[in-house]
């Protein structure tokens, strides 16, 4: 790593950001609208009197969870769909021909996932302001968790795009892994309200720590110590990144 192709990395990163901005209706507006629909339903159907965490109204409880869930899903979608489409079209070849290392390659794609995650996260947060304004009490913690969550899911997006042989596989990974894990991570409910068995299962779900820690950064109350959540998030993102890097290094499906 003594030489780093900075312009090459930066160009690839810029390309990835540029790509999702070119289709921003789909990549930014759609997830924001989706979350607005959730909020519309929950705010009119569910009584605000029920508190999931002591002293926190339900909508205030819900909004940070929805923000981080949108970040997770969009960070994943960005790298997975971009790389997989490049593989299908064959144009990933042009990057592979360039003097760009595996590390630079991963970093550029994951970096773009982070930008997409933050764009969607901010969009959701601002839009949710129409229903309830939840300013973060610890903005730096919120930012750190948003970034680490995006790194983790952006890396997993790369992993799935490298392993997949058809769009179906990407969709399966998204619908059978990412979505269930993020729904079961305490976005809509407090895990402490679950039966003991499911509470134990949740403790093994890294998404749970991301959601719980992120909520702590907004409302100041959480089930787990925020420091632990941040530590889990960092380890989770590093492991995911290492996995993507390893696959790329092996060449799997990219270099024969």
């Amino acid at each position: 790593m003594n030489d780093f192709n900075l312009p090459g990395f930066y160009t690839l990163f810029a390309r990835e950001v540029w790509r999702f901005l070119k289709v921003s209706i789909q990549t930014i507006l759609t997830p924001v609208v989706t979350v607005m629909l959730y909020l519309l339903i929950f705010s009119s159907v569910i009584a605000n009197s029920r508190q999931m965490l002591p002293g926190v109204d339900f909508l205030n409880f819900l909004v940070p969870g929805l923000i981080i869930m949108a970040i997770l899903q969009n960070a994943f979608a960005n790298s997975s769909s971009s790389l997989f489409q490049s593989r299908l079209n064959g144009n990933v070849t042009f990057v592979l021909l360039a003097p760009i290392s595996d590390f630079e390659f991963c970093l550029a794609f994951v970096g773009a996932s982070v930008v997409r995650g933050l764009c969607v996260g901010c969009g959701v947060w601002l839009a949710a302001g129409c229903f309830v304004w939840v300013p973060p009490v610890r903005p730096l913690l919120a930012l750190a968790l948003a970034v680490t969550a995006s790194i983790a899911l952006g890396s997993l997006g790369l992993v799935s795009a490298i392993i997949a042989d058809k769009w179906d596989h990407i969709a399966a990974f998204q619908n059978f892994v990412i979505v269930p894990f993020s729904f079961l991570s305490g976005v809509f409910f407090a895990v402490s309200k679950l039966p003991l068995f499911w509470r134990r299962v949740s403790l093994g779900n890294p998404f749970y720590y991301l959601v719980d820690g992120f909520r702590a950064a907004f409302v100041g109350v959480s089930e787990m110590p925020p420091g632990l959540s941040l530590a889990v998030a960092v380890v989770f993102s590093l492991l995911s990144f290492a996995w993507a890097l390893r696959l790329l290094h092996k060449g799997s499906n990219l270099r024969a």
Binding site: G8, N91, L97
Partner: protein, 305 residues
Amino acid sequence: MAAVKVENLGKDYGSLRALGGVSLEIGEGEFFALLGPNGAGKSTLINILAGLVRPSRGRAAVAGFDVRRQWRKARRSLGVVPQELAYDPFFTVRELLTLQAGYFGCGRPAKKWIDELIGRLGLEEKADTLMNHLSGGMKRRVLVAQALVHRPAVVILDEPTAGVDVALRSRLWVFMRELNRAGHTIILTTHYLEEAENMCRRVAVLNRGRLAALAPLDELLRRYSWRMLHLKLRSGSCGRLPPGLAELVVKTSGPEIVLRLHRDRDPLGGVFEELEAAGVRFSDLRIHEPGLTEVYHELTAEAGS
């Protein structure tokens, strides 16, 4: 220093031996043709040089840089026009070329060169068109431009003229000649043998993953020792052909016969003397000297059997 040097290079896909121990050296500034039937291993060899395929055995270097150990320098020295029509549907031609230049770390200074490439390849009108709105031939032009965007010392074109119209074909070759004269090494694969014959001074023929020939073009042409003599006979001469010559006739159509003559054993002078002695008279004659096509067929058939 060699532009390309491969030593005992091999690639297996499972049990399939795509490339079986190829060694060759291509000098700086050469215009070189890599020929061979479908599946011979041409693209495999090229993709190893480009770092897209990892060799199972042997070594490869571009401009003196090992493609595995000094991959960054090797890739900077190499521009490849891939065989498959791959393109990025999100971007316009100019955006794509700018990105490609950026990957190689030559961003802003490349702008003028990109404009020149767009002009040279006849892409001016399409420069701001999205890639997926281009025709197949236009996409192929963009592939060529992409390969040249970082001014590589070695340029490899893997079937660059498949699906390209006549005008661009000649335009492309003029451009390649110019690059070659400016010192770039050009390596091309093609199934249009006359292209290779017109452009290249040295030729390698691959067959089933092995080198069937590696020689200067004229030497290769000389190796093929047969030529065809077409004679248009006057009426009544046909039956008089002496038995020694009748054996050499490979084709008869109406008054015209074709004799297959060996360059050394059947000198033309001798043939004409024999004809005259036998009273065979003809009204017209044509000699067909062998081209790369004949040599190629012999080489690939020989090695195949």
